[in-house]
Each structure stands twice: as structure tokens, then as C-alpha cells.
Symmetry: C2
Subunit: 513 residues, 2 copies
């Protein structure tokens, strides 16, 4: 078989059976090898969609997808969502086509420092030596991606078409996560028992789903400590019948106030709370100056096992956590505001839906109101690079057939990688994209004030307004084969949400604010 | 003044008075400083639009614009068009906001190896030390950009808001281009006189406009040598009353055939013709194996002065070149095909229009038919990264008030950076975007065959087809405030082109093939 076929076989043997692709000339042999019934190829019109979709796919499936990207510039277009994926600890195998090795010396137009472009955002990076090493390299890339890493394999054209011999690819082993050492558990358990003020447990990554919240809930119910997440988390299982985790606020002033009571903070698969940005006169570290931080599990360690040990050490294993009650939210009516928006969502969210949240200003203030909705997963943007939402929703839907995805976007964020809609239509994915159209980069208005400037001058203000011309999201969706509707009352918003869940495939709701 | 104000003052003093911006929180002080009547800020909804617009701006104005980008991921979104700009030798000053210096240690979500991301595509790169060094650093960045370089200045938040003292920015000196040494001119002149077969002169960069084509035309008329450009050139002045330069074909087989007669090739501000991609069994170097290559001027040297000296040395200074005749093309009618499309363009192109060509398959075969149109400029994609057209058209229009821009796109390429349309509407730019909708990545079908595969299998074929769902470009344009129309005959296409020129501001024509 040729190198490209060896590569595709190895990916499939390693459980990588989905490839988000934007191919070019240098990837024609790989494209030919993708003509394999065991591999699902998903065409994306822009590379940022491909990498973001691979992020969303990993978050739901806990198993990596591949991307196919065209040389350095194609990879460059995908970097911002690789940044987000990296911060979310989503493993991805990027296959990046490069020129034929002998062609590189001529510095053809598409030649670039491909490894230089890949390095800052790849944990694992290799340009394969040739067809004969491709299966080995691909197996290593898959292993890295299964271990939550961004793995970038550069594939010169001649490695694709060269003879790889007979390849017997063996499946990759499951990565084993390190356990937290026992003395750390003991230390935290002793501290919690002795603390005379409130203690905060911050959960992240895999402890926010499966048994993690329940175990934390046992500790909370037994000891009175509070349990929360950072402002951004890669995936949280929440809703009725689960243990609700509080959310540390985004804005520095609010976060400092929220954290003020705690003199002890226990972190699980994360570090201490830090500001997203620094502001003149405000700290980067958000905790009370006298607060101590105790790490129960480092990022990448098995925090759920650590919570289990902690619950044991505290004698809380059979304590009942406080289960979130189902809150039946009546369908709202009247004007749209953060509360009526959240009520509409809470009332409409079907069981097991997935909420991808990139709604910046609109969603932030009211997401707590969906805590008693039907059980669902929430995916947030841990890297902060805008354009995360619609691609991640696309990948999450690919990984989760039968589950409705609600993708919450601001109008500003929606415009970064809107090409996702086309892939959603092509693959008939059950994604409802909800665009909150306030016609400005409202987050920047707040940030401008936070910097101490007050009201911006006319030219600066124009740089935060996207109302001229008005963006028509229903037309944009239509142009990509996705039916859309526009609503400006809470009852219409609710009705549109319910309708979207009743129809298979994607749709878009423009919420005019 | 603060650092951001010192930076903006220095940019303005250096003649950089346009900034294509996509700001974020870390750039609020810079945004505040942009509130300066001497600086025109242009909001872009995606960073690839900002960097591509800066490319188009430089090509027309020969003077750099700035971009404002938000941290590593914002820069990453702009990289692909920086690659294209770099290959086109377009100077750009990128101002990239970064976290406050003291905040970096906490590895906040948006932290990345910003210099690592910038380095592969920047000629000049610096993270400023602080407010006090910003004016100096900015002056150096402007000087680099004026010298056709990509200059990236990383601006930590505290450098923006710190005290820069009193800054007296002095204007940057004009870069001086090196002259070609006299012995090189003599060598080429002697070779041309002695050669017994046809000689080819390949012009590039600044020799394709101004006096360059005329001087080459004198040499051609006097000696019988042929004059041509590479397949891609950053800007060519062509049309009636100018000297027409032939175009070396794109596909390797055709290019090899075209170059076969020449045993001597003279290159001016470029190197010898190379294949865009390498293919099994085909060479990377396109010239006849026995052909000799003679460099008259290296890239970046003053090729026009070298042509002047060559014409002198050959006694051709007063020879009349062959001026391109005006060819009155009648408005075409009937079905759309490459010839009727080119005829419609040739008939409709107004004097001094600018043709930005990213139409890949549709435009390639027939652009020679516009040689006798009214005088115009053509801008081509020298870097090969798709998504170049609409941003470059946006920047070219910003730099050239009063000139109509025709932007030719394929339906595939149109979908990369379509957010440009919104900026065109916002700034009322006279851009007519023409989308040739064949509903496939047709170039890839040809490339697949070139690789020796013949017809792709069903799954591979699907990766080259973008017909499911159908992209509706009129709806997409409408969503961004740009009026659009769809045509499927040559007469309607011609009429739509003429109509678009009669109405100020942008419009879009979907040409259904």
C-alpha cells in the first residue's frame, strides 16, 4: 500500500474514524486513501471549522478525530480553534499536507515554515520521513491525541505516494491517567476538617461529568464546602437530577467579590482562579489575598479518583449529595431580556441536549437559570479565541447522533467561522444555532469601561458597533442551506426553539435584541 | 502621552494612516488612541479580512497600512493572508495586542507563544519593552513595512497604558532599492545579441507597472525576445495603450510546452519558473533542460532601472514598443463559458478598474481575452492561500477611491473570507464581487487527475463537490448588506456588470455555471 493508505489504515485501527477535511492539491493521495468505508470524511469550507469541529467531537466522544489541512496556510487558518482545543485538552490528529520533499528547495508559492507554524499550538509534531515511517508516526500521533494532545503530522506529497510496504497497524492503548498521591488527599481532608471558614472546591475537565460532580456533592453535603467551576470548562454535565456546580464570575470585580469569603480553595484538574485579562488597578489572581490554594489533582491527573479518595477520607462516601431539582420553567412571554431568554432556553431544552455557549454578554448573566432544566451538557470556550461555537457545535453533533445541540452565539462571534452552517446542512446535523443580535461588540464596551476610559470617543465607539450595515443572519443561514427565523419576543423565541427540536437537521434563530 | 498614543502618532508620522482592525480587550488603549482624526480605522469581522485588506492596500498605494489584531489567536486568523502578502512583497505593520506583562505568568486562557506564531510569516518581529520604547519600535516597524516587509509589533497592555513621555515622531525615509550591477546588464545584453533562438524576459513585481512593461516592450521590439510574467504577479498594469505581457501557464504540462522554445530566460525581480506543485513524473523546474537562466534584477532590486540600462545597452531606448490596441469587445450573449465570460468582462470593464483574480478554474483559461480592454490593474494571488480575493479587493478599494474593483472568485474560494463583504458595505467601497459558481472544487478534480488517479471514488469525489447544499451567494451577500444578483446567461452577466459600475458601493454577481 502507499503511504497515504498506510496512514488512513493506522488512523482507523487507532479508532480515529472521522476526518474533518479541507483538502488541496498536495493531499490528493490522502484524499484517495480516504475513499475507505471505515473512515467518515466531513467536508469543511474553511479550516477553522475543521479544527473546531474536531475539538467538539473530542469533548463529546473522548476520542480524537483527524483533520486534513492544506500546507502551512491551511494549518494557519485552523490555529485559532487549535488554541481553543488545546486549552480544552481536546486531542486532535492534524494531517497537514506539504510539498513533495524535492520541491521544497524551489520555494514554491505555498511553501512556508510549516513546522514553525505548527509548533506553538502542537504538543506533538513530526514531519514524516517517508512512506515507510508513516504508519509508525501515525500510531504515535493517535496515541498523543488520545492522551488529550494536539498532534500534528506533516505529510509530504512523496510520503503519501511512496510505497509503505505491508502495514499491520495495531490499536492504540488507552492512556492511563496518573492518580493523585495519597498524602495530597490526606492534606486536603485534614484542611477541610479543620477549616473554620467556608472552603471552595473548584472542579474542572473530566471531574465535571460522570461521577465527579456527585462525589464533590457528597463532600459538599458532608462538610459544607461550596463546589464550583472556573468561568470556562470544556464540558459540564448539569441539569435536573445532577449535582449543580456554581460558576465563578467572569468580570474581575465580581469574581473577587465572589471569592472573598474563601480562605481555602481546593483545585481539581485545574489551577487557582485567574483573571481572563489584567486591568489597571486590579489583581490577576482573584482569590482573597489570605486564601490558600490546595491542589487535589493537577490538570491531566485523575481528579475523579482523587475526589473518591477524598470522600472516603472525609467519611462522606455514603452521604447523599444535594441533587438538582427539576425546575419546570413556564414558557416566557413579553420582551427579550437575559431572564426571559434563559427561561425560554430552560423551558425548551430537550433531555440530553448539548449547549455550546459562545454568547459572551447575553448568556453570561443568566445561565444559572437553566440549572433545573432537563439534564444536558454545556461546552464552553476555554481558549477565549472567538469563532469557537459553531465549529464545536458541528463536531459535538457529529459525535452525538440523536442529541440536539443548541449553539448560543453573539452576532460578533457568529461571524468568525459561520461556514460551519454549511457542513451542518450537508451532514443533516441536529444543531439549532441561536444568534443574539445586539448589533455591537458589547463585551468590548464593558471592557473599555473596565480599563478606566468611561465612554469611548466617536471613532473608537464605531469599532465596537456592528450595526452598519445590519447583519441578516436568516439570509446568511439561507445562503448555506440552513432554514432560519427571526424573533423579537420571548414567546416567539421559545416557540422557535421548540420547533427546531421537532425538525431533524440544522436551523438558525436570530434573536433581535 | 501613553504608549498607545505614541504608537498611533508614530504610525501617522510614518504615513500609515489606515488601520484594518479587529480589536479585543487587550487593545482597548490602542483603540482609544485610534480615536484620532488623522487615522482611518476600518472594522473587519474576521482577522483574515484585515490582513488581506492590508495586502491589497499596499499593492495599490505602495505604502503600508496597519492591522490591529487580538493576541496570538487573532494573529493566527490573519496568518494565511500574511503569507499571501509576504509572497506579494506587500509591507504591513501588524499591531498585535498581548496580555499585560505581569499577567503572562498566570497562563490565562488567551495566552500563547505569540512570537512563535508571528515568526514564520514576519520579516520583522518585536515585543516592545514598554511604553518608552514604543515610538522607536513603531518607527522601525514602519520602515520595515515601507521596505515591503511584514512587520509585527507585539503590544503588551501595560506598554499601551504606560507613560511614553513626549514623543516627536519623525517621518520614515523612503527605502532605496539596490540597483543591478552594470556587469550583469552587460552580460544579459551580450547574451541577447548573440542568442540564436528566442529569448524570454520574465518580469515581476514593480517592473509589471509604470515604465517597466514599456521598457521591456522596447527590448522586445528591438531584439525579438518575448516578454511574460509568471503565472501569478502582485500587480500588472495592462489593457489598451499599454504593453501586454504574456502569462506562463499554470499547469505543468502546459508550462513546460510553453517554455520549450527558450534556451535563454532573463528574470527581472523574480526567479526562474517553477511548478506550483510537484507531480509524479513531472519536473519542478519548468524550463527546457538546456535553457540558461540569467538574472537581470533579483527580487527587491530595482528592475525598472535595470530594464532601462538594458534598453540602453541594446540601443533600444528609442525603439517603439508594440502598444496593445484597444479591442472593442461586443457585449456577448448566449450560454456562459470561459470565452463569453471573458468577453463580458472585457466589454464591461471601466477605465482604470482593478481586477482581483481568485477565480482559479474559470478565469485561467480566458484572461488573455481581456488584454485589449480599457487600461486596468490586475492583482493575483502569489501565495496560493485561498481566501485572498475579497480581502485584497477591500483593501485595494480603500486605497483607490474612484476606481471600480472587480473581484473574481470561485464559489469555493469565496467561502474562506466572505466577511469582507460587510466591510465593503460599511465603507461603501466600489467593489463588484463576481462568484463563478460551478458548485465544486473543480481545480481539485484536475489536480486529482494530474496525480495519475483518473476519476475519484465516490467518497473522494464528495470531498470536491460543494453542491450539497447549494450555496446561495445572493442571500449571503444580502446578509452582509451587499445587494446581489444571479445570472446564467452571458447577456445578463454583462448587464449586471455594467449596472454594478453605475451604482456606487459594493454589489455581488453570482454567475451560475
Amino acid at each position: 500500500m502507499n503511504g497515504a493508505e498506510a496512514l488512513v489504515s493506522t488512523l482507523i485501527a487507532g479508532g480515529v474514524d472521522t476526518c474533518f477535511a479541507n483538502p488541496g492539491t498536495s493531499e490528493m493521495h490522502f484524499l484517495s486513501a480516504l475513499d475507505n468505508p471505515a473512515m467518515k470524511s466531513v467536508l469543511c469550507l474553511f479550516e477553522g471549522v475543521a479544527t473546531g469541529a474536531a475539538d467538539g467531537y473530542f469533548r463529546m466522544k473522548e476520542s480524537p478525530a483527524a483533520t486534513l489541512l492544506h500546507l502551512g496556510p491551511g494549518l494557519a487558518n485552523g490555529l485559532a480553534n487549535l488554541h481553543n482545543a488545546r486549552r480544552a485538552r481536546s486531542g486532535i490528529v492534524n494531517v497537514v499536507g506539504d510539498h513533495v520533499t524535492t520541491h521544497l528547495q524551489y520555494d514554491a508559492p505555498l511553501t512556508s515554515d510549516l513546522e514553525g507554524i505548527a509548533r506553538p499550538l502542537s504538543h506533538w509534531l513530526r514531519t514524516t520521513d517517508g512512506a515507510h515511517t508513516l504508519a509508525h508516526d501515525a500510531a504515535q500521533a493517535v496515541a498523543a491525541a488520545r492522551d488529550c494532545q494536539i498532534a500534528t503530522l506533516v505529510l509530504p506529497g512523496d510520503a503519501s505516494w511512496g510505497d509503505a510496504g505491508e502495514v499491520c497497524a495495531s490499536p492504540a492503548a488507552n492512556p492511563v491517567r496518573a492518580a493523585a498521591p495519597a498524602d495530597r488527599i490526606d492534606h486536603v481532608a485534614r484542611m477541610i476538617r479543620k477549616a473554620d471558614g467556608p472552603v471552595l472546591l473548584i472542579l474542572a475537565d473530566r471531574t465535571c461529568r460522570g461521577r465527579g460532580p456527585e462525589l464533590a456533592g457528597k463532600v459538599a453535603a458532608s462538610t459544607g464546602c461550596r463546589i464550583a467551576t472556573q468561568f470556562f470548562t470544556n464540558r459540564i454535565e448539569r441539569g435536573a437530577g445532577r449535582v449543580t456546580l456554581e460558576r465563578i464570575p467572569y468580570f474581575v470585580e465580581a469574581a473577587v467579590e465572589w471569592l472573598k469569603p474563601f480562605r481555602h480553595i481546593v483545585t481539581v484538574e485545574t489551577g487557582e482562579p485567574i483573571a481572563f485579562f489584567a486591568y489597571p488597578g486590579w489583581p490577576s489572581l482573584l482569590k482573597h489575598p489570605e486564601a490558600q490554594v490546595h491542589s487535589l489533582a493537577l490538570p491531566g491527573e485523575d481528579g475523579t479518583a482523587a475526589l473518591e479518595m477524598l470522600a472516603d477520607a472525609l467519611g462522606a462516601s455514603s452521604t447523599k449529595p444535594v441533587w438538582q431539582e427539576r425546575i419546570e420553567t413556564p414558557a416566557p412571554s413579553g420582551p427579550l431580556d437575559p431572564v426571559s431568554i434563559a427561561h425560554a432556553l430552560a423551558a425548551a431544552m430537550p433531555e440530553n441536549c448539548i449547549l455550546v455557549d459562545e454568547s459572551l454578554t447575553t448568556g453570561r448573566s443568566s445561565m444559572a437559570l437553566t440549572a433545573g432544566a432537563m439534564p444536558h451538557d454545556t461546552l464552553q470556550n476555554m481558549g477565549g479565541s472567538i469563532g469557537f461555537g459553531t465549529p464545536v457545535a458541528t463536531g459535538a453533533a457529529m459525535a452525538s447522533p440523536g442529541r440536539r445541540v443548541f449553539c448560543l452565539e453573539g452576532d460578533g462571534s457568529m461571524m468568525y467561522t459561520l461556514q460551519s452552517l454549511w457542513t451542518q446542512a450537508r451532514e443533516s446535523l441536529d444543531v439549532t444555532t441561536i444568534v443574539f443580535a445586539n448589533r455591537k461588540y458589547k463585551i468590548l464596551e464593558a471592557e473599555y469601561a473596565n480599563m478606566g476610559f468611561g465612554t469611548p470617543g466617536p471613532r473608537a465607539a464605531e469599532m465596537m458597533e456592528i450595526d452598519r450595515p445590519t447583519l441578516g443572519f436568516v439570509a446568511l443561514a439561507k445562503g448555506m442551506g440552513v432554514p432560519g427565523t427571526r424573533v423579537d419576543t420571548a414567546e416567539d423565541f421559545y416557540a422557535a426553539l421548540v420547533r427546531s427540536c421537532g425538525e431533524p437537521g440544522p436551523s438558525l434563530i436570530e434573536v433581535t435584541l
